[in-house]
């Protein structure tokens, strides 16, 4: 039954080559921890991706209760933490997961750096990687404001004041970031939109490029 359904779809859309390409490509021996334990450093990219997936999932559930408005944001987070079934766990996953993404991404970057895997023909993928790094840090910065607690508020103030110090465009940069002259209602809605719409869109595009390029160039061979 399943097979017949699959064949029916395949006849029309020819989907087999799509997934066969992913399934059939060979994983080289030197990156496979089953051969040599020290190859686990090649897992860091995959584990980063796993964490990105859990971040997206836990974030989706948090957004069912979170309210991006200065009067209610803090109470909504409090409600998630204390009242919602498993809310504490989902919030914990998103909170600790953010740190873990950064740690794993950093380890992955170090692996790529110290194995010299950014050299030709993989230069472009390294550049994409650096962009991903910046995007992930931006996730951290915008997400930190969302609970609207004291830490959130004052850390973001420091960030906005830094933007202000840029010569000439400083004040514009600050109001672009904060949505006004002070951290307030507009900052929160802005950071929320950036955190849940703009950055994920950018991240998914960049990750797509990252993976296509890995597939094209293959993993760098043994040193």
């Amino acid at each position: 039954m399943i097979k017949r359904t699959y064949d029916w779809i395949d006849e029309r859309l020819n989907i087999t080559p799509l997934w066969r390409d992913i399934a059939d490509h060979d994983v080289p021996a030197h990156v496979n921890p089953a051969n040599r334990m020290s190859s686990f450093v090649y897992c860091f990219g995959g584990l980063t991706f796993l964490m990105i997936v859990t971040q997206i999932l836990s974030g989706m559930f948090l957004s069912m209760y979170y309210v991006p408005d200065i009067n209610n944001a803090w109470y909504s987070v409090q409600y998630i933490t204390n009242e919602v079934l498993l809310g504490q766990v989902v919030r914990g996953m998103h909170f600790w997961g953010a740190s873990l993404v950064i740690i794993m991404m950093f380890l992955h970057m170090l692996r790529v750096f110290f194995t010299g895997a950014y050299k030709a023909p993989r230069e472009m993928n390294w550049v994409v990687g650096v962009l991903i790094f910046v995007i992930v840090l931006a996730f951290g910065f915008t997400g930190y404001l969302l609970p609207w607690d004291q830490k959130a508020y004052w850390a973001t103030s420091v960030g906005a004041n830094l933007a202000n110090t840029v010569p000439l465009i400083g004040p514009y940069l600050k109001s672009l970031l904060a949505g006004g002259s002070t951290i307030g209602a507009l900052t929160l809605t802005r950071f929320f939109a950036i955190h849940v719409f703009f950055l994920p869109a950018a991240l998914l595009v960049l990750l797509g490029l990252h993976f296509v390029m890995i597939r094209k160039a293959g993993i760098a061979g043994p040193m």
Binding site: D26, A120, A155
Partner: protein
């Protein structure tokens, strides 16, 4: 495995598989061979992560108060190194660590493949690249540690000199007036339910130390992190409370206990 019948089902293997035994040179197909082992690593990783999440509940700090300029700002840990870097450039120079140097650093990172053009990929054959990255890692760790240490000190400001031989963060002066103050505050009830067992219903102390007059030596903002952290192993984190709102009420009430 011979090619007589391509649709012959080999147990545990998807139908369309051709030759798929691990190749002689150790290569193996991504799916299913590699992924079947790989997901185990992922599962163990996730299980460890979930345990960490469950045993380290996240607390919510007090609600943002734009008028309270005494709050000491602190970013999340992965920005601490930058935050610490800012402190070394007071005044208008803050633009250097705050904007100029990070932008240069990111650009340098992007151009690494063109900066390090040596043919070799081995770290020891390209000492400049390796040394620069090592230096960057070392500096980041050091700055983070510095920031962490300084923040702990700032949070307990005014605490250091009060700290007496018993090593408690807030040494109370054993006041002569014993009456509890502001017992209508919600924190009073929470204290009686959660903390009085160790600190005494009149704050006189039993298992835990006396807390009368603690409002003279500590503010609510200083108390919150101390109580939240607890004193392992004598006092559990949050004194047994995990609800940040209740914690806040308790420390708000404690900060009012200014008996003399």
């Amino acid at each position: 495995m011979s090619a007589e019948d391509p649709r012959q089902k080999i147990p545990g293997v998807p139908r369309h598989r051709r030759e798929f035994k691990a190749l002689a040179d150790g290569r193996e197909p991504f799916f299913p061979n590699f992924l079947l082992k790989e997901w185990i690593a992922g599962a163990v990783f996730l299980a460890g992560f979930m345990l960490w999440v469950i045993y380290n509940p996240v607390i919510l700090g007090p609600k943002a108060d734009p008028t309270d300029t005494t709050f000491i700002p602190v970013p999340d840990w992965y920005f601490l190194f930058l935050f610490q870097f800012l402190k070394y450039f007071p005044g208008p120079d803050i633009i250097l660590p705050g904007v100029v140097i990070p932008v240069i650093a990111i650009l340098l990172m992007m151009f690494v493949p063109w900066l390090d053009r040596s043919k070799s990929r081995r770290p020891f054959r390209r000492p400049l690249a390796t040394a620069s990255m090592m230096l960057f890692i070392f500096m980041s760790i050091w700055l983070t540690a510095e920031a962490w240490g300084q923040h702990e000190v700032e949070i307990g400001a005014g605490v250091a000199q009060a700290s007496s031989s018993n090593g408690l963060p807030f040494a109370v002066q054993h006041p002569t007036s014993k009456a509890l103050l502001n017992t209508s505050m919600p924190g009073y009830t929470i204290f009686q339910q959660n903390c009085a067992g160790c600190h005494g219903s009149q704050l006189e102390g039993s298992v835990g130390p006396e807390l009368r007059g603690i409002g003279n030596v500590a503010t609510a903002q200083q108390l919150l992190p101390v109580v939240t952290k607890g004193f392992s192993p004598m006092m559990p984190p949050g004194g047994g409370l995990s609800d940040p709102k209740q914690l806040q009420s308790v420390v708000d009430w404690l900060a009012q206990q200014k008996q003399h």
